[in-house]
């Protein structure tokens, strides 16, 4: 997302707000640092014009906030949607989680967002400020050094293998749609599949052992939008299940979560983005997506509103259990 889109987004959103078309806007604003751009709700056009940030750090998927915001806000809620977020937007609509009429969506073009972990690693020391240039970041470090980092080196993995940069939902598109990424989305899953069961177990054991159960992955996930999560529900009986000796609770948490979002996950990659331990959680979901594609034909959750997901629809051509075959 370039500067030009940010200017356009600020102008257009403020305009809509002044005209009374939208009562508030779901967008991003700068946090503590330049790379620390966080989701926020703007209520005045002045705030929008001053603080709205639409750049390579506007990574957060805002669609999930519509559930709570449309319940409490007056009138229509404005939202900025990157192409990948628009899939989550549609998926939530499919699940009737908010009323489409109550939302005005501004589509944003996107060429990728920055993986801040990767950026910090690449810079190697504290970041004081960042200037976004054409195709690169000009980073001033705490020691006063200025480093130029090409964007292509710090794009998030989810963006390099982005499923589509063509937004699937918006009322109005700001700027031009950008060309799709061409890397294979399932290459990493295939790598995991090629491991032996023991190797794979060891891989996940290693990754998931770092989990601190902060619940960030669940809280950010647009598919994890239950009124009350089973993990927070004392009557579900989940929390009374003590971990057995060779297992650990976190593993089950992530696996259960992957099952719960299977067929509904749009592969937005937010789970891995927010994980403070950098666990590649999205790979669990992506494995499900790959399997669903091979069993039931290509399916992208959220590609269209109301599409019947393979896991909750039945056709006579579905593979029989036990045949286990590919379609």
């Amino acid at each position: 997302m370039q500067k030009i889109t940010e200017d356009l987004a600020r102008r257009r959103a403020a305009e809509l707000m002044r005209a009374g078309e939208i009562s508030c806007l779901l967008g991003w604003k700068k946090g503590e640092f330049d790379y620390d751009v966080e989701p926020t709700v703007f209520y005045t056009p002045e705030e929008v014009e001053r603080e709205l940030v639409c750049n390579v750090f506007s990574a957060a998927n805002l669609s999930k906030y519509l559930i709570s915001l449309t319940r409490k806000a007056e009138g229509r809620v404005g939202i900025l949607l990157k192409p990948c977020d628009s899939f989550s937007f549609n998926q939530l609509l499919t699940e009737h989680r908010f009323d489409r009429e109550r939302v005005y969506a501004l589509g944003l073009p996107c060429e990728g967002t920055v993986d801040t972990f990767l950026l910090k690693e690449r810079v190697g020391e504290g970041i004081y400020s960042i200037k976004i240039k054409d195709g690169a970041l000009e980073v001033e470090t705490l020691s006063g050094e200025v480093k130029e980092i090409p964007l292509s080196e710090v794009y998030a993995e989810r963006c390099l293998v982005c499923k589509s940069r063509r937004p699937v939902a918006y009322d109005e598109m700001l700027g031009e749609v950008t060309p799709d990424a061409d890397e294979d989305r399932f290459a990493q899953v295939e790598k995991l599949e090629s491991m032996t069961a023991e190797e794979r177990y060891a891989f996940w054991q290693g990754e998931l052992s770092r989990c601190i159960r902060c619940n960030a992955c669940r809280n950010v996930c647009p598919a994890c939008s239950c009124e009350r999560c089973v993990f927070d529900n004392p009557t579900s009986g989940v929390e009374t299940k003590a971990p057995s000796e060779d297992s650990f609770e976190e593993k089950m948490f992530h696996i259960i979560r992957a099952f719960h979002v299977a067929g509904r996950c749009t592969d937005c990659g937010e789970c891995s983005r927010v994980c403070p331990e950098r666990i590649p959680l999205h790979l669990l979901n992506r494995k499900f997506i790959k399997d669903i594609n091979s069993f039931y034909g290509d399916y992208t959750a959220g590609a269209e509103v109301g599409s019947r997901a393979p896991l909750v629809s039945y056709t006579k051509d579905d593979p029989e259990p036990g045949q286990g075959g590919q379609k």
Binding site: E95, E227, G237, Y314, K316
Partner: protein, 664 residues
């Protein structure tokens, strides 16, 4: 706290031989909440049930666990006993220690240990049981019979006779099925048409019966007593109510080379046709694959010659929606394809035919007007070889054919061989067999007559190879009794092809949620005690769709299925199962997953105002279950991510309690 009684059944020696029943009842005595535990020889007997009633009264039991056979077998029995003792019938849990324990184990120690664990799980579940009350649903007093062969016709006639409306759906342009293609029928040799066609006419004229010919079942919804069925009435391009069946169009149609499926392709028909003279309904049908008018708009001869004006080239498929209380499956059978049996030269020689083709060749209404002539040159065959078990009783390892016995072949082969010898005494007839199976009234006498009086040469042994050579078919076979190879030059070979369920049966079973065995025959609810009911309530089985059957058996089963349907339709209300889904609205996301997986359409959505945890009031979309429609299959509870959907009597916490008890 529940006061639980445990009753361990010996089932004679069925359970007691592999499970130490005394040890089980002793061990379960120590389970929490168990105040009484005993064992008895036959818990389902009157004395056993009295034991239960007595214990409920004496010990103030609030719930009972029966360790016995599968709940499929006696759950109802024990629920009734509990109700008679003043308990809610849903405070009964069955631990299946027979089918799932004693019958599958040989070691008494292990079997006993497993029985205790299963009993413990049932006790753990029972602690969380709540009394449930069944509701009532009305019954639509109309039955659907799928398939219009002899099975379907007989079932429909019997149901109609009891005063209920019946619809027959038949995919072909006429009812009659396979029987209408047969010549004579064993063991009495009456002609099939003579005994079938009056029934066809009777069905057509019965005011309680509606025949949807050239139609197929498109979709089935609902449940016992209240099925919603959509029937696709295919366009036959002829107005059925106007067509008089005069047959003029079928004579004038210029397209003459259409393979005639009624005669199994051994002669041809026109593009507009009536399958056979006694067809019901006797109306013409235009074959859209061959009709010039429908293909390229050039012709229109039939419309011109039809004095009734019945031809309608613009006719389209019609969808008929109808409610039924009961459904009878009578989809019948097909002979198998013989593609994999190259050794019999079926595909390479026209003089190697199937038994059904032989029926057409000897039928007076068939392609040769009943004269037995070789398909290749129209000559009279002087030496005929019948081969039995073609594709029947095949080893699974052979990778072709069926493992089962097709049951009808021995008898019809005896009939065909006998009739050939009767009509053409100059013909030499061989029958090659593995075994001759003739159980049935007057069946063995019939076969012996063929062999002894009519001189049919029965040879025990199989034909290894048939090679067409010039005008003859070189048959190489073994005579197992004489222990030698036989080489016969035959003029005609008749293969008794195995029979398999009609191909339409599998998708239909899916629509009906009725189960099938590995051979695609419909499964009965109990192989001995409920042979005409499918495990799906309200779906009944008639004829060969359930397994290979001859005509007498089919007709008997058709009548039995009709009796079951009548029994159902005679009721005004059905007691509904109280073990239905229920939703916790506070947890429901309104996402529609449950609605999408519900096979019965029992779930709808309502918008309701809720007080949220942050003290605001929000309008939320939540699921609502119609308990009269819900069948308690539990699909929704699995689809629900948040766990808002639960199944009464099988709540998630009950299942977890069972699992915990087993893993303890």
């Amino acid at each position: 706290m529940q006061r639980i009684g445990v009753f361990v059944c010996w089932c004679g020696s069925n359970i007691a031989a592999t499970v130490d029943v005394e040890a089980v009842s002793q061990a379960l005595k120590d389970e929490p909440g168990v105040v009484f535990s005993t064992n008895y020889q036959y818990m389902c007997s009157q004395a056993g049930q009295d034991l239960i009633k007595q214990a409920v009264a004496e010990h103030g039991l609030t719930g009972i666990v029966i360790c016995s056979c599968s709940p499929r077998m006696h759950e109802t029995t024990f629920r009734r006993a509990a109700a008679a003792a003043g308990l809610n019938p849903y405070m009964v849990e069955i631990a299946n220690i027979r089918e799932q324990c004693s019958w599958v184990h040989k070691d008494i120690a292990l079997g006993t240990q497993k029985a205790i664990v299963l009993g413990r799980a049932a006790v753990a579940k029972l602690h969380l049981n709540a009394p449930l009350t069944p509701g009532e649903t009305p019954v639509t007093k109309r039955a659907l019979v799928i398939g219009g062969g002899i099975a379907g016709i007989q079932t429909a006639l019997d149901i109609a006779d009891a005063g209920f409306k019946v619809d027959i759906v038949e995919k072909k342009p006429t009812i009659g099925g396979k029987m209408s293609q047969l010549d004579k029928t064993f063991p009495t040799l009456d002609c099939a048409a003579c005994i079938l066609t009056p029934k066809m006419v009777e069905a057509a004229q019965n005011e309680n019966i509606t025949i949807y010919s050239y139609s197929e079942v498109e979709s089935v919804g609902g449940f016992v007593g209240n099925f919603d069925v959509t029937i696709r009435k295919k366009a036959r391009y002829v107005n059925e109510s106007i067509c008089t069946g005069c047959g003029l169009c079928t004579e004038k149609c210029p397209v003459k080379n259409v393979p005639n499926e009624f005669n199994l392709g051994m002669d041809s028909r026109r593009a507009v046709y009536i399958p056979f003279a006694q067809a019901v309904p006797k109306v013409a049908t235009i074959d859209p694959d061959y009709c010039n008018m429908l293909k390229n708009g050039k012709c229109g001869v039939c419309a011109r010659v039809c004095t009734a004006g019945a031809i309608d080239y613009k006719q389209t498929d019609e969808l008929i929606e109808q409610k039924y209380g009961a459904i009878v499956v009578a989809t019948g059978y097909e002979p198998i394809k013989l593609d994999k049996f190259d050794e019999f030269a079926y595909n390479s020689s026209p003089d190697v035919i199937t038994s059904l083709e032989f029926e057409r060749l000897t039928n007076a209404a068939g392609p040769t007007s009943g004269k037995l002539l070789r398909p290749s040159d129209g000559k009279h065959p002087h030496r005929i070889v019948f081969v039995q078990c073609v594709g029947s009783r095949c080893a699974a390892a052979a990778g072709k054919g069926k493992e089962y016995c097709s049951k009808i072949c021995c008898m019809y082969t005896a009939k065909q061989a006998m009739l050939v010898r009767d009509k053409y005494p100059d013909t030499e007839v061989y029958v090659f067999y593995i075994d001759v199976r003739t159980p049935g009234k007057n069946f063995d006498e019939f076969y012996r007559r063929a062999a002894e009086e009519y001189g049919v040469k029965y040879v025990k042994g199989m034909v290894g190879k048939i090679s067409p050579q010039g005008e003859v078919l070189k048959v190489q076979a073994s005579d197992l009794i004489a222990g030698r190879q036989l080489h016969i030059d035959a003029d005609l070979v008749v293969l008794a092809a195995a029979i398999e369920p009609d191909r339409s049966a599998r998708p239909l079973a899916t629509m009906l949620t009725a189960s099938m065995d590995t051979n695609d025959f419909f499964t009965e609810a109990h192989p001995k005690l409920r042979p005409v009911e499918s495990p799906t309530a309200g779906v009944f089985l008639s004829g060969a769709c359930q397994g290979p059957k001859d005509i007498p058996e089919t007709v008997a089963q058709a009548g039995a299925a009709a009796a079951k349907v009548i029994g159902l339709l005679a009721k005004d209300k059905l007691t509904s199962n109280p073990c239905v889904a229920s939703v916790d609205e506070l947890m429901c996301n309104g996402c529609s997953s449950c609605e999408r997986v519900c096979p019965y359409g029992a779930i709808s959505y309502v918008n309701k105002e809720f007080r949220m945890p942050d003290r605001t009031v929000a309008l939320r979309r939540v699921a609502s279950v119609n308990p009269a429609v819900c069948q308690g299959c539990g699909a929704c509870t699995v689809a629900c991510m948040s766990g808002a959907m639960d199944l009464r009597g099988f709540e998630a916490k009950q299942i977890i309690a069972e699992v915990d008890a087993i893993c303890k």
